[in-house]
């Protein structure tokens, strides 16, 4: 629970657009430099991950992730009304999975072509 409660407006939707891993991200701002909509702003504190200022303008293009050269530092997130219905079924077992599920299956590590 927070000690101090501030007056803040509702969060824009989608709330986050991307997530940073502060242990990997070194705050180089490459992602912020190329985001087409300036969704990401440099953090006033040097070396810290950028701040997601305009998540509502995110085009979900993933260019920020492609531009980052520290794997795992930044993750793109689909808004919930999009991700909740990305569902797949394993043919052999009939198991159903979905994006964002609590206990996801093991990742498929095969990279894309090219």
């Amino acid at each position: 629970m927070r000690e101090k409660v501030y007056m803040v407006p509702n969060q824009p939707t989608p709330n986050r657009a991307v997530d940073f891993n502060p242990d990997i991200c070194n705050g180089c701002n490459r992602c912020a430099q190329i985001c087409r909509n300036d969704v990401l702003m440099p953090n006033a504190e040097k070396g810290k991950p950028p701040i997601v200022l305009y998540p509502d303008e995110c085009w979900s293009c993933g260019c920020c992730v492609q531009e980052c050269n520290r794997p795992g530092a930044i993750e793109m997130l689909h808004p919930l009304n999009q991700s909740i219905v990305v569902i797949w079924k394993r043919k052999e077992t009939g198991q159903e999975f979905r994006l964002g599920m609590k206990n996801p299956p093991a990742p498929n590590t095969r990279p894309a072509a090219g």
């Binding site: 927070r2 501030y6 803040v8 969060q11 824009p12 939707t13 709330n15 986050r16 991307v18 997530d19 940073f20 430099q33 190329i34 985001c35 087409r36 909509n37 300036d38 702003m41 440099p42 006033a44 810290k48 991950p49 701040i51 997601v52 998540p55 509502d56 303008e57 085009w59 979900s60 293009c61 993933g62 260019c63 992730v65 492609q66 531009e67 793109m76 689909h78 808004p79 009304n81 999009q82 991700s83 219905v85 990305v86 569902i87 797949w88 079924k89 394993r90 043919k91 999975f97 994006l99 964002g100 299956p105 990742p107 498929n108 590590t109 095969r110 990279p111 894309a112 072509a113 090219g114």
Partner: protein
């Protein structure tokens, strides 16, 4: 601490704007060729103008390295008729497309595309895009030519559409821009064109812009200008909650608005098109479907029963490869996404077009799944690894995110969204991710009218890419940019020095900074944008009549004078978005006026007039170029084959040879 809210709640004061703000300060830039918009068309234009020896400045609202619709990737390179494996000549291509379009929308741009798409692909290959199957991953596949290692899509027999690994196409183009010494101005939004003496319809001598990080004002002076700022993308639907974001937010329509204000002519603005993505849509290419990138994918029902694929005569198609071959007697299949309607002549193989009725009768049970496991390994990998791995907005948003979450196309079936049953019928190639497509939601089309130089009616102003009527897809934008770059450079190298009218600059500067001055009852850009959309949805929707169109025009004008005059901007970023609302109102006015002058319904233009219901009366089979003169829209008539009549030659190839500047 990722979001702004988390930052505030940590007890830190509201963060200051991270970039220096210098509202009002003016930066002057001078060049031979000024390229407006750094997307696919703009980058190719700048590179080719530079190669011709001109000094080139490129201005981009976002960051050129990844900006624009093509910035997130490309997986199919259309209409490469001159590639060594092609069985279709540019002449055969243009003849067929002209017929499919009833001669609308297939002027010089598409022919130039058929002539140069292959050369342009070789060009981006030399810049570092992996075009061929260099790793021999697909050796022996039906869609691969083993000698050239080229891989084809949609029509394995005629081989004009090429599968490419284009996820990094923009970084490659950007590197080439830099290598050649093109001067790039990122984060500068173009707001207006400058004309000789500040007069409408005079020679274009430059443009104005505003930096959306610093608020600085730019005055660009150029001997020739190329508009490459795409078509307007959020005039009918806009919501950041429901994701109506097929279109890049930045493509708000300045390309149209600035050229209109300068007096340039437009055609086909009255054309509408079912919105590719409605606000109820899904992740593009991220759910089970058979459209475009996913063409050929087997669809099964919840019990594993496969939905048949049919040829154009309704005969069932047995093998996976056959889904990529012409039907008996068919010359060739046209690739998707080109604003060319599906016809008997060009249609690909399709998933049972009566699927909705069959679901209703109980023959197939929802939900449906895309079952890639039923395909031969190479076909499966081509769809999910090559195409979904490289298409726009798919490498990270679909391929990476889904595979990291465990999706495996070798084992898993991806669910098709559960839609109203009618939505499963054949619409635009069965892109189920378009969601609950309502015919009411229309997107605009059309654009600048150009000649065989890709020049507009204004001296010094050229057009390329989505800003030009009929130049819709990636390879079309690339070839148009390439050609317009050559033509603009040739003109600029002999053109007189451009002279800018200071009064025109002063007026534009005052307009641009208007949204910073608001104090009373201000409105933000998002609410204003949605309001503009409401006018367009209701008054310029699928069915139109003179009275409602006129009422829509009145509402837009009122909105401009009332709410839009109170639009408020708190930051340079906001300022750009607020100015986009001015843009959208102008584009709305252009579109409604174009609709008002076409007093006949038209099939190709998807144009339904309640008051003129007769479809396609012969006397209305013509273009109606429209332009602004002293505040009034002026319209004239132009034959659909204007580009094959005097002063031009009678054939495509001859005109191309005369004008192409090669």
């Amino acid at each position: 601490m990722t979001t702004w809210h988390e930052y505030l709640e940590s007890g830190l004061p509201a963060p200051e704007w991270p970039y220096p703000v210098r509202y009002g300060s003016e930066i002057e830039v001078e060049t031979d060729v000024l390229v407006l918009g750094g997307g696919i068309a703009g980058c190719h234009a700048a590179i080719n103008a530079k190669r011709k020896g001109a000094r080139v400045v490129l201005v981009e609202k976002g960051a050129t390295k990844w900006s624009g619709h093509g910035g997130a990737g490309v997986d199919h390179w259309l209409n490469a008729c001159t590639n060594p494996c092609s069985r279709i000549t540019p002449e055969e291509f243009i003849e067929s497309v002209s017929r499919d379009c009833d001669s609308y929308d297939c002027g010089p741009s598409l022919y130039i595309n058929a002539q140069e798409a292959w050369e342009t692909l070789l060009d981006i290959e030399s810049m570092g895009v992996m075009v061929r199957d260099m790793n021999d991953e697909f050796k022996g596949a039906a869609f691969r030519d083993d000698e050239t290692k080229l891989m084809f899509a949609y029509d394995y027999k005629n081989r004009i559409d090429i599968r490419v690994h284009g996820h990094n196409v923009k970084p490659c183009l950007y590197r080439e821009l830099k290598r050649l010494g093109v001067e790039v101005h990122d984060r500068v939004m173009i707001t207006g064109l400058l004309t000789e003496g500040g007069r409408q319809a005079a020679r274009v001598v430059g443009a104005t812009g505003v930096n959306t990080r610093t608020g600085e004002f730019y005055v660009f002076r150029g001997k020739a200008s190329i508009v490459a700022m795409q078509a307007p993308g959020r005039l009918w639907t806009f919501s950041t909650e429901y994701r109506s974001m097929w279109n890049d937010l930045n493509n708000a329509g300045e390309g149209f608005a600035i050229a209109w204000n300068a007096g340039a002519e437009f055609v086909n603005l009255e054309k509408s098109w079912p919105a590719m993505i409605t606000p109820f849509s899904y992740i593009p290419y991220g759910v089970g479907n058979t459209s475009n990138t996913w063409h050929g994918t087997p669809i099964v029902d919840t019990n594993g029963k496969e939905v048949p694929w049919l040829d154009r005569d309704g005969n069932e198609v047995r093998t996976a490869e056959e889904r990529f071959e012409p039907s008996p007697g068919q010359k060739f299949i046209l690739g998707p996404g080109q604003h060319v309607p599906h016809t008997y002549e060009n249609d690909p193989k399709v998933l049972a077009p009566d699927l909705s009725e069959r679901i209703r009768k109980g023959e197939f049970v929802l939900p449906l799944y895309a079952d890639l496991t039923r395909l031969p390994e190479k076909e499966r990998r081509a769809i999910f690894g090559l195409m979904v791995g490289n298409e726009g907005k798919t490498r990270i948003p679909v391929y990476d995110i889904l595979t990291k979450a465990g999706f495996d196309p070798d084992k898993d079936m991806l669910q098709v969204p559960v839609l109203p049953v009618d939505a499963y019928n054949k619409t635009s190639g069965v892109n189920y991710w378009a969601g609950k497509a309502m015919p009411l939601l229309r997107a605009g089309a059309g654009g600048l009218l150009v000649d065989w130089d890709l020049r507009t009616n204004l001296e010094g102003l050229y057009g390329a890419g989505g800003t030009v009527s009929g130049a819709g897809a990636h390879s079309t934008a690339a070839t148009g940019g390439r050609y317009a770059g050559r033509k603009a450079a040739a003109y600029a190298l002999t053109a007189a020095e451009p002279i800018i009218d200071p009064e025109q600059v002063r007026k534009e500067k005052a307009r641009v900074y208007g949204p910073l001055q608001q104090k009373k009852r201000s409105i933000g850009w998002k609410e204003l944008n949605a309001g503009i959309c409401r006018i367009m949805q209701d008054y310029c929707g699928q069915y139109k009549n003179q009275e409602t169109l006129a009422a829509g025009l009145r509402l837009l004008r009122e909105l401009r004078e009332a709410e839009c005059s109170r639009v408020y901007a708190a930051t340079p970023h906001d300022l750009g978005r607020a100015l986009e609302c001015h843009t959208m109102i102008t584009v709305g006015e252009m579109v409604i006026q174009a609709c008002m002058v076409r007093k006949a319904s038209n099939k190709f233009l998807s144009f339904s007039r309640i008051d003129y219901p007769a479809m396609d009366p012969p006397e209305w089979q013509k273009y109606l170029p429209i332009r602004l003169e002293d505040g009034e829209a002026q319209v004239r008539e132009l034959p659909l084959d204007y580009h094959l009549r005097p002063p031009y030659a009678a054939g495509y190839e001859e005109n191309y040879r005369i004008h192409c500047e090669l």
